[in-house]
């Protein structure tokens, strides 16, 4: 078999999936139509907090085309939506975990909470009927922000959850930490907000329930990043359907960014309702439903203190954070501000003691959960703003201060004071490379030139580390995860030598159909045109935990490698038999597609071996089963730790406060690169979301819990002319504990970039006495700072 060597690891192979997407043949959930299908419309609460006295569905049920109307009263026996992670508070008590009903049970707790569902012959009939449902609400006082929720006498989101505190958790040794502040040369105090974001994958969520009464089998088609997780959560905890009677299909999915990890009410509603009405039931969100029901991201309020010695060495970091959980606990919500945030607060620095307290708080808002980066952007933003402020207040160059505190390149594996052990990295190298690429040294010339044009130019830097590839099952189990986090890969070699890969990860933009095929080419020598990657169907793929936390390659790819190791071993056994050689003497050369007896010219081709496996006429049948298919479960030994340096340059128009991005440099260490083209695309996309957070995006609730940023008219998404070209480069140190040496590239862009942008904005405004500017740095905020400065100067 001829193998083009450039299709393997390291080649920028064009994507296999593109042809169908570019031809309109993508197959997304809403593109699926089942015979005799009905349509669901969900009536949602217009109130942030209200008691429901009565729901009158009679008029709706009598409307044309209506098949059924269901409320919470019809589903009382159904368990609520489960939470997949349990955190314990400082005092050892488990987190507060109030029930999360699929349809409201007597109360609604956020604008968008599901109250009733209409099933009708057409979507418009369902919509009309939903409007005819009469709900008798008694509006209750609501809380939208974490500060309001913990204020004395605040309304309770859930009866009996005192002070709206879900948990009060900590990490680190408070006594050691306090002692390290005593006698410090300098303590920098800082407060900041990590703004709440709305993920807005371009494809709205959709779900279709189908039920076959002859076999009692349920099928759910859904926009999910992890169909097996949905099967587990919905089957076991919500609807009590055993796995072998529940199939979950996640076909092409139009972006996720975390928001499609979670098990949502609509998935349970359509699956349950399809079995009730004995017809398929389809639901697709309008964008306004996406805004008010997709889990939001971030939403932290943090106070931090950093102690330094006279030379600027970090002595101790103390952090207290309020994290918004929203009205109910979404699937992974409790893990985000704890084990994905506070454990990253050592960052790339040798700070000997870190102590963090995190209070998670219920509010009358949509649930908050993982959004691209999940906890790590919050940690990075805090650290990299804090270091900039410290540099300025100590009179130390901001790059020099970072270098002075970096974990040395020869100190790996490095044990941080907050549980994690980084296996590899080289923060000096990524910094050096980024400084050169961004022409850091030449910046003051550019600043002066901008000033001559009437513009304020600033430069900002961020050096970061994050944790990906979640995660060793035993570790996350000890930390409260209610699932294992391994991954599964099956390699099915067909008689003629082509390959089907079944993977438990899911691709929703990442290009797995290409990169995973490249792994097969590398290890088995089969051209990518003869490799199919199958994902997203619990009836086809044995098991899996899905894609999030940049884990697909590090965990799912590693499972594939393990399965391919088994394939190669079995194929070598078959070859040894045919070649009448001992196994130890038979080598496989994937580039040549040949099994050879070492030191001889005797060989068998890949195709001869694969055919023999299925036509075992001359075969070691006593010792070896026919066939060539292997499955591996891979449980990682550690997280992976991508890191790097992002540098941003902005220009501000003082008359309007508009911040124009003019330059962005990213140098990331993501371990071994499989497909440089796809990596560049992932980083560019992540950086765009980070820039969006820093300059444009912000979810706004009013004090009563009304969502004010509820459409693309009100929530500023980055558009092409808001952004500038992003220079992407990589500097590789290999991950030491997975077989590919990969770390993950999906989130680095969104993690490293926001502080680089805000540091640049603050730098541009340095003559205006500004210490910090909250995200998003909108023209209104920037203009106000400039104007206040001008007024001060005039006085």
């Amino acid at each position: 078999m001829n193998v083009a060597p450039f299709e393997g690891i390291g080649a920028s192979v064009k994507r296999k999936e593109d042809l169908r997407f570019l031809s309109g043949r993508g197959h997304y959930t809403d593109d699926i139509n089942r015979p005799n299908q009905t349509y669901a419309m969900i009536l949602r609460s217009p109130h942030a907090h209200a008691a429901i006295a009565r729901i009158d569905t009679a008029a709706a049920a009598a409307m044309p085309g209506v098949v059924a109307v269901f409320t919470g009263a019809d589903m009382p026996s159904i368990g609520g939506l489960p939470c997949g992670w349990q955190i314990h508070s400082k005092d050892g008590s488990p987190m507060q975990e109030p029930p999360h009903p699929v349809l409201a049970q007597g109360k609604v707790r956020f604008v968008g909470d599901a109250v009733a569902v209409v099933i009708a012959e057409s979507k418009s009939q369902a919509r009309d009927a939903a409007e005819a449902i009469d709900v008798d609400y008694t509006v209750l006082p609501a809380v939208a922000s974490t500060e309001a929720a913990i204020a004395k006498g605040a309304p309770e989101v859930h009866d009996g959850v005192a002070g709206n505190i879900c948990y009060d958790w900590h990490i680190g040794d408070p006594a050691v930490n306090a002692a390290a502040f005593v006698g410090a040369h300098k303590v920098v105090e800082f407060e900041l907000v990590n703004n709440r974001l709305i993920p807005n994958a371009m494809e709205p969520r959709s779900a279709i329930g189908d039920f076959d009464p002859t076999t009692d089998e349920h099928t759910l088609y859904t926009t999910s990043q992890n169909p097996h997780v949905i099967r587990l959560l919905m089957g076991a905890f919500v609807l009590q359907i055993p796995e072998h009677k529940l199939r979950v299909v996640a076909p092409d999915v139009g972006g996720g960014f975390g928001s499609k990890i979670f098990h949502y009410a609509e998935e349970a509603i359509v699956t349950w309702a399809a079995a009730r009405v004995h017809r398929p039931v389809k639901w697709t969100a309008d964008r306004n439903e996406s805004f008010m029901t997709d889990a939001h991201g971030r939403d932290h309020v943090t106070k931090a203190r950093l102690a330094l010695d006279a030379n600027g060495k970090f002595l101790a970091l103390h952090v207290t954070t309020l994290a918004n959980m929203g009205a109910y606990l979404s699937t992974f919500a409790p893990s985000v501000p704890t084990y994905l945030y506070a454990t990253l607060l050592a960052g790339v620095y040798t700070t000997p003691t870190v102590y963090a307290e995190v209070k998670a708080v219920f509010t009358n808002t949509v649930p908050v959960d993982a959004y691209r980066g999940a906890g790590r952007p919050e940690a990075t933003f805090l650290l990299e703003r804090l270091v900039d402020v410290a540099a300025r207040e100590m009179g130390i160059d901001k790059v020099a201060l970072r270098r002075r505190n970096f974990i040395p390149a020869d100190a790996f594996p490095y044990q941080t004071p907050v549980a994690l052990q980084y296996d590899s990295g080289n923060y000096q190298a990524t910094l050096d490379q980024a400084l050169v690429t961004a022409d850091w040294a030449g910046f003051e010339t550019r600043r002066a030139a901008a000033k001559a044009r009437g513009r304020l130019r600033g430069i900002g830097i961020s050096t970061y580390v994050e944790a990906c590839g979640i995660a060793p099952s035993a570790v996350v189990g000890a930390l409260g995860a209610r699932a294992g986090l391994y991954e599964v890969g099956t390699i099915r070699v067909h008689p003629t030598g082509s390959v089907t890969v079944l993977t438990g990860t899911h691709s929703h933009g990442q290009g797995h159909e290409t990169t995973f095929a490249q792994l097969v080419t590398e290890q088995l020598g089969v051209p990518i045109a003869q490799v199919d990657i199958v994902h997203g169907d619990t009836a086809k793929v044995p098991f899996g935990m899905g894609s999030y936390g940049s884990r697909s390659l590090a965990v799912g790819g590693s499972a594939m490698v393990k399965a391919m190791d088994k394939i190669v071993l079995k194929a070598r056994k078959i070859a040894a038999h045919l070649l009448e050689a001992s196994l130890d003497d038979v080598e496989f050369d994937p580039r040549a597609g040949a099994f050879r007896v070492a030191g001889t010219d005797k060989q068998k081709t890949w195709g001869e071996i694969t055919l023999t496996a299925y036509v075992p006429h001359n075969y070691p049948i006593e010792e070896l089963e026919p066939g060539l298919e292997e499955t591996a479960f891979y449980d990682p030994k550690n997280f992976t730790y991508p890191g790097g340096c992002h540098i941003c340059e902005v220009e501000i128009e003082p008359e309007t406060g508009h911040v124009q991005l003019v330059n962005f440099t990213a140098v990331d260490d993501i371990g071994r690169v499989i497909n440089p083209m796809i990596v560049e695309g992932q980083v560019q996309g992540g950086v765009a979301q980070g820039i969006g957070q820093a300059l444009l995006e912000g979810c706004v609730y009013d004090a009563d819990g009304q969502l004010l940023s509820g459409s693309f008219m009100d929530y500023t998404m980055p558009r092409a002319d808001d952004l500038a070209p992003v220079s992407v480069a990589t500097h590789t140190t290999l991950c030491t504990h997975n077989p590919l040496g990969v770390k993950g590239c999906g989130e680095v862009g969104a993690i490293g970039s926001p502080p680089a942008v805000i540091n640049a904005v603050v730098d541009a405004l340095k003559d205006y006495g500004v210490r910090h500017i909250e995200m998003p740095a909108t023209p209104a905020k920037v203009w106000s700072i400039i104007n206040a400065g001008l007024r001060l100067a005039a006085e």
């Binding site: 920028s12 064009k14 994507r15 999936e17 593109d18 042809l19 169908r20 997407f21 570019l22 031809s23 309109g24 043949r25 993508g26 997304y28 809403d30 593109d31 139509n33 418009s124 807005n200 994958a201 371009m202 494809e203 709205p204 092409d252 999915v253 139009g254 972006g255 960014f257 309008d286 964008r287 306004n288 929703h508 933009g509 990442q510 290009g511 440089p676 083209m677 796809i678 560049e680 695309g681 992932q682 560019q684 996309g685 992540g686 950086v687 765009a688 979301q689 459409s711 693309f712 008219m713 998404m717 980055p718 558009r719 092409a720 002319d721 952004l723 070209p725 992003v726």
Partner: protein, 167 residues
Amino acid sequence: MPQVTLTVNGKTSTVEVEGRTLLVELLREKLRLTGTHVGCDTSQCGACVVHMNGESVKACTTLALQADGASITTIEGLAKADGTLHPMQEAFREYHALQCGFCTPGMVMSAIDLVQKHPEGLSEKEIREGLEGNLCRCTGYHNIVKAIDAAQAVMHGKAASIAPATV
């Protein structure tokens, strides 16, 4: 119910619709052309862009009745019958200008109209401004801008084929 007769990708159909039926609903639900997507409800995202009588329109804010007698081209109708891609489709593939693929049909249809309306050629800045009506959450737009730049050279006859990407 009123009827609409329209030609989509060269094929003429007569379809019964409600007065409120949108063009995108007609395409997706009645003609089962699901390549055209719906990404929002405020005419902001552009996932639904198709060509109506040669000009790009947002099919989510066009009533099906407005398309009576019109000639519509959707993403499914861009490639030649032998499967040869339109230069814009080819450029998107070459420059990795798509990830999840959801915004892609609308992005490609908008880009073609943008280039066709500017035979004099578009600068990078003009391409960025010309994409104001289309949202992409995956790519950060950089590769989309590069792809459109490469495609305009071919569409205006200044290059025989899409210039290869360097990454």
